[in-house]
């Protein structure tokens, strides 16, 4: 140990700095500082951010032992802890439906918890105890693989700003009322839900991330939405029952988001949007929309093509467009409705701000080529258009290049980058 005369370098730093140092350590190292010296004995106990994961205990092959170890560690840490706990994260796959977790959440609900993250690994779903709904000051809630059942008297988390539910079993009405019961909600992420129908009413919502099988999404009241990322899984039955419905998904989804700046749609998103009867014109202009990403657009479906066109033509300030095609092993040379481009497509539409276009997974089908031609002809400030053919297409590449070379370009600066 050091010379007695050497001054202690660190223990006299202000409490806030020591806390910030301890917070940056894994919880195990932070707790271990309690045997450094008498001044450090209880330093760690006032930490307000507690993150428990698989690293906080020694691993061994015996699962019950690990579970026991972890439960002991966390229980004792909470018991020794002093003061408020603002953030609590539990990410482990070793605690299966452990009754101690309920006790910890009860303890936290009395400690003014603000951020709670529960990530409890494979196995049985963890049933969230009702004391969670008593955490009045909660600002951020993330649940993975939990069963969530709010009591009927539950009105919502009045301070909640960020909600993230991933593989959570919960009744749809409960989610809707939870979302509308959180007036300050700014960020919402729902993933891996099965056949969820949702009306989202969140006047302050800015960021939305949806992933899963959603049968019916309606953004009823989300005027402040800034960024949206949606991955829509759909099976054929759902698609069929949609065909019969006449409500226009496009309007329901994108009809009320004038402030949208960034849109990302994955998997079946464009298909989902294409379902329903479109009234003909769009009342809304996406004047803030700068980046559009649409993945797996099928250029063999006219309705999807119309959706894409509709979107970009109503976004006068669009700067960046990324589209990926849904690759088909056999790219047909013939395509129906090719006259659409010559006859129906508006000619006077200009993309005044469009600078970057990225097209990936292109199979070279006629509609794809026509779309590229359309973009090139109507983008006066285009800087790069990069095209990546789909891996299955080998022979069609030359054909694609031949056609590309012929297209007229509105922008003298435009570079076409064809990547292999």
């Amino acid at each position: 140990m050091g010379d007695v005369e050497d001054p202690d370098l660190i223990s006299d730093l202000p409490q806030s700095i020591l806390e910030s140092i301890l917070t940056r350590l894994p919880i195990r190292d932070a707790v271990r500082t309690s045997i450094l010296s008498s001044k450090w004995r209880y330093r760690w106990t006032t930490l307000t951010h507690l993150v428990f994961d698989d690293k906080c205990i020694r691993m061994c092959s015996d699962r019950p032992v690990v579970e026991n170890c972890m439960v002991n560690f966390i229980t004792r840490a909470l018991f020794l802890h002093q003061g408020p706990i603002h953030k609590f994260q539990l990410s482990t796959s070793y605690l299966q439906c452990c009754p101690d977790i309920d006790q910890w959440i009860l303890f936290l609900s009395r400690s003014d918890i603000k951020e709670l993250v529960l990530e409890l690994g494979e196995g049985e779903w963890f049933r969230v105890p009702s004391c969670l709904f008593n955490c009045k000051k909660l600002t951020c809630l993330e649940l993975f693989r939990c069963e969530f059942d709010p009591p009927p008297t539950f009105k919502g988390f009045l301070c909640l700003r960020s909600l993230s539910l991933h593989q959570v079993l919960v009744a749809p009405e409960a989610i809707e009322s939870l979302i509308s019961g959180c007036p300050l909600l700014e960020s919402l992420a729902l993933s891996y839900f099965d056949s969820l129908a949702l009306n989202i009413r969140a006047p302050n919502l800015k960021y939305l991330c949806l992933e899963g099988e959603f049968t019916d999404i309606c953004l009823e009241n989300t005027p402040l939405l800034v960024a949206m990322s949606v991955a829509m899984y759909m099976n054929d039955e759902m698609a069929e029952c949609f065909e019969q419905s006449s409500k226009c998904n496009f309007i329901k989804f994108l009809g009320g988001v004038p402030r949208l700046e960034r849109l990302a749609g994955h998997i079946y998103f464009t298909k989902y949007l294409s379902i329903g009867d479109y009234p003909g014109s769009l009342a809304i202009t996406y004047s803030h929309l700068k980046i559009i990403e649409l993945y797996q657009v099928s250029f063999e479906d006219m309705k999807e093509i119309r959706v894409v066109l509709r979107l970009i033509m109503n976004s006068p300030n669009l700067k960046e467009l990324r589209i990926s095609g849904s690759s088909t092993a056999v790219a047909s040379v013939e395509a129906p409705n090719l006259e659409f481009w010559a006859k129906e497509c508006p000619k006077d539409c200009t993309f005044k701000q469009l600078k970057v276009v990225k097209m990936t997974d292109m199979s070279g089908v006629p509609h794809e080529m026509e779309f590229m031609k359309f973009l090139l002809a109507n983008s006066p400030v285009l800087e790069t258009m990069s095209i990546t053919p789909c891996v299955y297409v080998m022979d069609g590449r030359l054909n694609m290049l031949i056609q590309l070379v012929r297209f007229r370009r509105a922008s003298a600066e435009a570079e076409i980058i064809f990547t292999r």
């Binding site: 050091g2 202000p14 910030s20 309690s34 045997i35 004995r41 205990i57």
Partner: protein, 361 residues
């Protein structure tokens, strides 16, 4: 010509400076945009109008020494330039915090008193990286922390060692090895005598404590016989041991938590480190225990001693090859037993003995 001169001189005249007084009384000028990067200086200038001339120089808080000030100004000078990319800033930061720990702590303190949060975050992160993954002794050495926790608090981690006889054997083996090394050193350095004695007692202490958790049923009978012999010798120190035992039990709370947290650490580090932890404890028992060790060693028949040495060496070889995995195994077994036999642990610590049992009765 003169116009060109004017053009050259003008920008320099336009640059404004702020007067700053450091703790040693020296007053210096600092470019305004650099100094204003520090919120505390900014406040002084804007709210109190200080710093515009030598007379009203801003006096810096005590924690900002001249050396620290120059470091902080370097930091500010780099970061206040708006056009830098994130990558550039990050790589500057990485290089910036490469300094010895003492300066890092002083810098953190100075940056905090100037309310320069980005620099405080940077240095805190660096300090956290230094602390992470180190043993308590290493941390104490780096930061010159006084080792002033009581022995009870430090002894707690011992409870994690298992009552498995193989662990006891291991301890004995390592003790022997260390003894040999020390003996060799002693031949070169006469002063090593005291250390030698101390080591023995610590080894014995360790074996006692490890051996005495009272759960290894198989060895209990043979242990009992030796226990009686031991008892006579230990009678005189029994009362003092009791006195030390009880506080050990009471200070369970924090230390047993540390112990749990400590378990992994001890597993990974070599046994000799663990012995170091118990040095302080060893000193308590030194006077009574050393006799016992001498007794046992003298009793061993030389031929038997050779055999033991050979077996121990073989065992050492085996152990050295897969030490970590086996320790994992053993400790996990021990852990289970420890949890169920907590009540027995308390008094069992000194009842063990130091004889190896490698396959012998």
């Amino acid at each position: 010509m003169s116009e060109v001169d004017m053009a050259v001189i003008k920008p320099e005249m336009m640059k404004s400076y702020i007067w700053i007084q450091t703790t040693d009384g020296a007053i210096q000028q600092v470019e305004q945009e650099v100094a204003m990067f520090c919120p505390m200086i900014c406040q002084e200038v804007i709210q109190k109008g200080m710093g515009s001339s030598k007379n009203c120089a801003i006096s810096l808080p005590q924690r900002v020494t001249p050396a620290m000030l120059s470091l902080i100004l370097d930091y500010c000078r780099f970061h206040q330039v708006a056009g830098r990319s994130n990558k550039e800033r990050k790589s500057f930061d990485e290089k910036f915090v490469r300094m010895d720990t003492k300066r890092l702590c002083e810098l953190t303190s100075a940056a905090d008193s100037l309310q320069l949060k980005p620099l405080v975050d940077l240095t805190s992160r660096a300090l956290a990286r230094i602390i992470e993954g180190k043993t308590p002794e290493e941390i104490r050495e780096i930061f010159h922390l006084p080792d002033d926790l009581t022995e009870e608090e430090k002894l707690e981690p011992l409870k994690n060692t298992t009552d498995d006889p193989r662990i006891r054997l291991l301890n004995r083996l390592y003790a022997k090895k260390r003894k040999e090394l020390k003996e060799r050193e002693k031949l070169k350095d006469v002063d090593a005598e005291e250390e030698h004695v101390d080591d023995r007692s610590v080894d014995d202490l360790l074996s006692f404590i490890n051996g005495g958790d009272g759960d290894s049923k198989g060895i209990k009978t043979s242990k009992n016989k030796k226990k009686h012999r031991k008892r006579k010798d230990l009678q005189k120190c029994a009362p003092s041991n009791e006195a030390i035992e009880t506080p050990k039990k009471e200070s369970n709370a924090a230390s047993s938590l540390c112990h749990n947290a400590e378990v992994d650490h001890e597993l990974q580090s070599s046994l000799s480190e663990k012995l170091k932890l118990q040095d302080a404890a060893g000193e308590i028992f030194a006077p009574t225990v050393e006799f016992d060790d001498v007794d046992i060693d003298d009793e061993i028949d030389p031929a038997l001693k050779e055999e033991i040495d050979r077996e121990v060496e073989d065992f050492a070889r085996i152990l050295n090859s897969d030490w970590p995995e086996r320790m994992q195994e053993l400790l996990s077994l021990g852990q289970e037993r420890r949890l169920t036999h907590l009540s027995v642990n308390g008094n069992g610590a000194l009842k063990g003995h130091a004889r190896p049992d490698p396959g012998q009765k």
